[in-house]
Amino acid sequence: MNEKKIGEVILDVRNISLRFGGVKALTDISFDVREHEVRAIIGPNGAGKSSMLNCINGVYQPQEGSISFRGQTFKHMNSRQVAEMGIARTFQNLALFKGMSVIDNLMTGRNLRVKSGLLAQAFRNPFGIGNAQKEEEQHREFVEHIIDFLEIQAHRKTPVGTLPYGLQKRVDLGRALAMEPQVLLLDEPMAGMNLEEKQDMSRFILDVNDEFGTTIVLIEHDMGVVMDISDRVVVLDYGKKIGDGTPEDVRGNEEVISAYLGTSH
């Protein structure tokens, strides 16, 4: 295994605070993510991990703080802009397009890159007039790679709503990958998987990280996974950051142990 090159800071979260009415979901959180690294966020339930991701990709607007991406600072961003910058995301509660087939779900990930307009698409044809068909085929080819990669060939045309939970998680990842993101935010991608599947998933994540150099931010409750595959870990508790460092550092941190890991670990 070749040594990984961790690069510059790509994503810098500064003093983010987020409140919902009286609930303080995040209080003054700062951390950074470096290019190519696998950055884990852990913490007990309701700590604010998902909310953190939502802030990064513009679903929630934090009341305070800022986030910079490749040195460019922004406070209020909408999801579209974030997506255009190359930040993709998977969801904890599965936010797939249930009525669409696996292929179509993945293809939506390519939509940002589609150039032909509405009319061109309406008149797309197999006779080589216009670009729409060619473009479609190129995107399809890309998506097929992801399908092979995630090993969901058999389910290409199945509506995702009827897939078992674990496969849906995979499709969710695939859709994010289809965006060819620079940063991939993963919210509990392995929940509901058994060990073997978690191993596969870890493999996928590491491969993405290696092969495409994608930076990964990962929320996960399985400490085995976190310890094994992440480069650095942020620990949140009740909206506050209580730890940040290498897996070993974090595992040794008293506060983290009592807040999150429990005694038996």
């Binding site: 999801s79 997506a83 995301r89 936010a95 797939l96 397009f97 939509n111 068909q133």
Partner: protein, 358 residues
């Protein structure tokens, strides 16, 4: 056994991306279209054409349009009648006010006006969702009803407010006989259905469906809700508008706003739900169900009754017709909540496995 895709390996994505990827389907559909153009005109009676097939074709087209908005983009619309009315009345105005205006451009221009109207009343969809949006579309419906009744300009100052067209021609051929009307509607339908199919299987169609299924997630992968929703309103109301023009010009010939009332909007919505939301095929099934079934029931019931030695008054027939119609709707929904198109595809799936049960 016959419906097998085994051995049909796709060697390119293009092959797999064809509208009908399975050869049997492709041939079946081509055969159907050919039959519709060639065989049906030879066999169907005048009544069949004028009273059943033409309305069926036009309503299929309209349902197709509604399906894009409701089925693909998930925006519930009860204003389709209004979009049809705009298409019809504006096409009428282009047709009678501009000397020498040919029929097809008039219809298309009517469709474009419907597009504008549709986008306008689609604007609230950026904020209002689901059933609540139905109010916006109903506002469009009642506003259009009122406008075409009240604003004299739209009816070319006819005192009673009803308008009519005649002398329809396409490329110099008169559209008068049942066959020519039928073929004209069929041609328009086939072309627009093909374009619609292209759209829904392309990027824009996926944007619509993404917005329908989960708009927050769609936004996160970079889909602009505004563009997706408004383009759905635009495309859908264009198609509905053209259908409205056909309904008025070809089927009715003369009409008043009541011909595009809220009842029609409801019926169009039924068509897409019964036919299958998010399925082009569903539009045809739905139109068939809602247009043809009542007529069939209406004619079959007295015969049926007389088989048992009863005679039914027209009133009883239509009451029983309503009951059976309602009952069938419920029954089909129970058998397959996702509509006739889904039932069809399940049927195909079974056929594929045949003769093995699973």
């Amino acid at each position: 056994m016959f419906y097998r895709e085994n051995g049909q390996f796709k060697t390119s994505y293009r092959a797999d991306q064809q509208i009908f990827a399975i050869a049997q389907d492709r041939w079946l559909v081509l055969a159907l279209i050919a039959a519709a153009f060639i065989v049906v005109p030879m066999l169907a009676s005048d009544y069949m054409m004028r009273a059943i097939l033409i309305p069926f074709l036009i309503m299929s087209l309209a349902a197709l349009g509604v399906n894009i908005l409701v089925g693909y983009c998930g925006q519930i619309s009860l204003g389709s009648g209004a979009f049809m009315a705009v298409g019809a009345y504006m096409a009428y105005n282009f047709f009678v006010r501009i000397p020498g205006m040919p029929l097809v451009p008039a219809l298309l221009l009517g469709g474009l006006c419907a597009t504008v109207f549709g986008v306008l009343f689609g604007l609230p969809s950026l904020r209002v969702k689901g059933l609540y949006l139905a109010v916006a579309t109903l506002a469009a419906q009642f506003f259009a009803d009122w406008m075409f009744l009240r604003v004299k300009w739209f009816v070319n100052d006819s005192p009673s407010g009803s308008v009519s067209v005649n002398n329809l021609q396409v490329f110099g051929l008169p559209i008068e006989s049942a066959v020519s009307k039928y073929l004209f509607c069929l041609a328009v339908l086939v072309v627009l259905a093909l374009l619609a199919k292209n759209l829904v299987r392309s990027a824009i169609g996926r944007e619509w469906m993404a917005i329908r299924d989960m708009d927050v997630a769609a936004a996160v992968i970079g889909i602009r809700p505004m563009y997706a929703k408004l383009s759905a309103f635009a495309v859908s109301s264009f198609i509905i508008g053209v259908a409205g023009g056909l309904w008025a010009f070809v089927y009715l010939g003369a009409w008043e706003p009541a011909a595009f009332g809220v009842d029609l909007s409801f019926r169009l919505l039924f068509m897409v739900i019964i036919g299958g939301l998010g399925s082009i095929m569903g539009a045809f099934f739905g139109a068939g169900f809602i247009v043809v079934l009542p007529i069939v029931l209406n004619q079959a019931l007295p015969e049926l009754a007389s088989l048992f030695g009863m005679s039914m008054t027209t009133a009883t027939v239509s009451h029983v017709e309503l009951m059976i119609f309602g009952g069938l709707i419920v029954w089909f929904l129970i058998v397959e909540p996702h509509g006739l198109a889904k039932l069809w595809s399940i049927g195909k799936q079974k056929l594929r496995l045949w003769p093995f049960p699973h």
